[in-house]
């Protein structure tokens, strides 16, 4: 029997469950062994064989630690117990950090799973947006292959992370994306036409044709312009979160990065400072197994990214990124903690980059087609979620085919309009470098205009001026 958490009190029950699972659990016997008075400790031989029974015997005298200066040391950050063993902290725990999920690979809800219930309306929008994202990706990808776009990067395989995160946030929460999170914009109302305008860099693009495809941005939707330099968005996100904190806003910042991004210095600077600044920020790592052609085994030797949170004093959770319901619940809970407790949270979402890194890449050269096939079929985030909404009676084959044909039509139309639309005006080349253009830029613009006028045949005709 699953626990449905509908009311606000049951949401906090989920919070407690998550917190409990994340709490530092130290077995009592080990704690006591470290704090034994010297006389008792000396009798341990061998220590490991006796520690179980010893711990039981000593359960009533464990509190001696505070009274005995030889046993603990006051050190910045709290009391540190002494040990007389040469004990190195292991490079890894015996078991990998478990991964939270609600739906199994077949989309069946796991018995006794804890999650935040989503309404029919939200669930259907989640599924519809995941499908829309996938259709958009496929059509843009094909357009790039046909030479109509210079570049494209798909989000295929990672739709649940995109859409479920978006669904669990409010529009006031500020997004600092990497480049594989267009689903958050889609959820917030960015239209297919607006996506297409950006990819074609036409005159209607809000970026005035200045950013390469997929590097979307929208002030209106609290979605910061995508930064192509890996992981710079992480410290930027912490800074924006500090701003929300100073303004006492009921919102947080959410930033995304990949497994590869966690190797950047910016990742470490951002997590460390977020903890110290007590910034309300969610770091969501899409661990999709591949940083272009670099597998995670060449990226790090830790148990993924989730374990790095504790090193910085950040509460962390590992989630099945292909389970939309789990992602939704984890982000929902993380958001609440981040805002009410004013603290950063790290979420590692395990997923797989089903598509190539970008259109500049052919990933079958470094990974097997079987591996891609397995993830796209057996662990497909869309089909899992579809099974669940169908089991609730919220979705049907008919709704599916209606949605797909409608989105495909809309998408092809958006592409046609964006492609035919005029390109940005010459003035867009020089504006916005500064708030007010300095004299040298005005001069440069003037010179270009005069040169084009006097030698029109030497210049492209598609630049309106």
């Amino acid at each position: 029997m699953a626990h449905f958490l509908k009311s606000s009190s049951s949401k906090s029950a989920l919070l407690n469950i998550l917190k409990h699972n994340l709490a530092l659990v130290t077995p009592a016997r080990r704690h006591l062994r470290q704090s034994l008075p010297p006389s008792i400790r000396a009798s341990q031989n061998p220590i490991s064989r006796l520690c179980n029974t010893m711990a039981e015997k000593l359960s009533s005298i464990g509190f001696h630690e505070d009274a005995n200066n030889q046993e603990v040391m006051d050190f910045p950050g709290g009391k540190v117990a002494f040990t007389h063993e040469i004990h190195f902290i292991s490079e890894s725990s015996q078991e990998r950090v478990p991964c939270y999920r609600v739906l199994d690979d077949n989309g069946q809800q796991i018995t006794n799973s804890h999650f935040v219930q989503v309404s029919e309306e939200v669930a259907v929008k989640m599924y519809s947006d995941m499908v829309t994202l996938q259709i958009m990706d496929n059509i843009f990808y094909e357009a790039q292959r046909q030479g109509r776009l210079s570049f494209y990067a798909t989000t295929i395989g990672e739709e649940a992370i995109n859409i479920a995160s978006a669904a669990a946030l409010t529009p006031e929460d500020v997004i600092f994306p990497q480049y594989r999170e267009p689903g958050l914009l889609l959820w917030r109302g960015f239209t297919l036409q607006e996506f297409a305008n950006q990819c074609f860099g036409n005159k209607s693009d809000y970026g005035k044709g200045r950013q390469m495809p997929v590097h979307y941005g929208s002030n209106k939707l609290n979605y910061f312009t995508v930064s192509a330099t890996i992981a710079t968005q992480l410290p930027n996100a912490v800074g924006a979160a500090y701003s929300l904190k100073m303004d006492k806003k009921d919102a947080c910042v959410v930033t995304f990065f990949g497994d590869g991004g966690s190797s950047e210095g910016d990742f470490h600077g951002a997590l460390n400072l977020a903890a110290v600044m007590e910034a309300p920020v969610l770091f969501i790592c899409r661990n999709n197994g591949w940083a272009i052609s670099t597998p995670t085994s060449d990226q790090f030797r830790s148990d993924g990214v989730v374990v790095k949170g504790r090193a910085y004093g950040i509460r962390s959770i590992r989630v099945d990124g292909n389970d939309a319901l789990a992602m939704y619940s984890a982000v929902h809970a993380a958001r609440e903690m981040a805002i009410t407790e004013q603290r950063p949270i790290l979420i590692e979402a395990l997923t797989y980059r089903v598509g190539h890194h970008s259109t500049s890449d052919d990933s079958t050269r470094y990974r097997s087609a079987d591996e891609i096939e397995w993830w796209s079929k057996a662990r497909n985030p869309l089909s899992r979620f579809r099974t669940w909404i169908e089991s609730n009676g919220w979705w049907s084959d008919e709704a599916e085919s209606d949605l797909r044909s409608r989105i495909k039509k809309e998408m092809l139309e958006a592409l046609r309009v964006a492609e035919k639309s005029k390109k940005p005006n010459l003035k867009n080349m020089f504006s916005d470098v500064y708030d007010v253009p300095p004299p040298n830029l005005k001069e440069q613009e003037l010179v270009v205009r005069q040169t084009i006028k006097s030698h029109p045949q030497d210049y492209p005709s598609d630049v309106p001026f």
């Binding site: 312009t225 996100a237 912490v238 400072l273």
Partner: protein, 312 residues
């Protein structure tokens, strides 16, 4: 008034006038700044607005830029601009380009400030001048004060400016005192960004320079006057935008140009000034441009060699 007090009072007044202004960097709070530029600010404005950061230039610079994206006005201190190399990605890619890339949706009102160039006896990794580096980047404004008036007027202008500003101070000038006018002491005082100052008028030769070298140039002009040569000294104040109009007007008057900077000669500020004059005022020149710059070597530590590596 010392340059230190000028900088301190400028930050203080801007923090008092605008609650969005805050200071961050290593040692800026409790320790009052490695060079005491932020003295008294922690006590006055509290730890939320005078933020002592961990030692992570890339981290805190990125955070400053993010805070500026979100509407705050951070003043980020580098203990020396040499250390800004660890954060240059955020100064260039995150700060300088964002207004343009976002088509004006995200402006970045931030100031990066700290001592730049050579101090005394601190070796190669504390002594480089980064004026030419930052001045080569569209989207940044680069200011270099000389006097107390410059320091106050330019720093206040930088903090109020909606664009990212790199503010290059000089450690050896911090303790130096300059006369200061009543006008410059007023809290509304501000100097225009992009305007050079003619520190001394002359008719025989133009000397362009910035920061500490302005003092050297003025002394040189005095010596030249004794020999009957009238030198015009231009304090650039703003390296980007560069006041090409003032420089060229002066050269057209004097027909001679000497450019001075502490930084390396190749691709330096002097080289850019030289190019501007050759492009715009070539026919006015009576002699080749003389370029005086630091030696083309990383700064040696030994005091005797260090002195030789800089314009004398």
């Amino acid at each position: 008034m010392t340059v230190r007090d000028a900088l301190n009072s400028a930050i203080d007044e801007e923090m008092s006038a605008d609650p969005k202004v805050f200071v961050m960097g290593e040692e800026v709070g409790q320790y009052q700044g490695a060079y005491k530029i932020t003295k008294g600010l922690l006590e006055k404005y509290g730890p939320e607005r005078v933020y002592d950061t961990p030692i992570t230039e890339a981290g805190f610079t990125g955070i400053g830029v993010g805070a500026a994206y979100a509407g705050l006005k951070p003043v980020v201190e580098f203990m020396t601009f040499n250390f800004s190399m660890q954060a240059i990605d955020h100064i260039i890619n995150s700060a300088a380009k964002s207004n343009y890339m976002s088509a004006g949706q995200i402006n970045v009102p931030i100031v990066f400030r700290g001592p730049n160039g050579a101090a005394a006896g601190v070796g190669a990794q504390h002594s480089q001048c980064y004026a030419a580096w930052y001045a080569s980047v569209p989207g940044l404004k680069v200011l270099a004060p000389y006097s107390a008036e410059d320091a106050r007027g330019l720093l206040k202008a930088a903090i109020r400016d909606p664009d990212p500003v790199v503010f290059l101070e000089n450690e050896l000038l911090y303790g130096e005192s300059f006369p200061i006018s009543e006008e410059a002491l007023d809290s509304s005082f501000c100097l225009p960004i992009g305007k050079a100052k003619i520190e001394r008028e002359g008719k025989d030769v133009t000397i362009t320079t910035f920061s500490k070298m302005v003092g050297f140039a003025l002394k040189a002009a005095e010596k030249l006057a004794e020999e009957g040569i009238s030198a015009e000294v231009i304090n650039l104040r703003s390296i980007r935008p560069l006041d090409r109009a003032t420089i060229n007007a002066s050269v057209r008057k004097t027909s001679r140009l000497v450019t001075v900077e502490e930084g390396f000669p190749q691709h330096g500020v002097c080289a850019e000034i030289c190019a501007s004059v050759v492009e715009e005022s070539f026919s006015y020149l009576d002699a080749p441009v003389e370029r005086i710059a630091g030696a083309d070597v990383p700064m040696p530590y030994a005091a005797n060699l260090e002195r030789l590596a800089l314009p004398q």
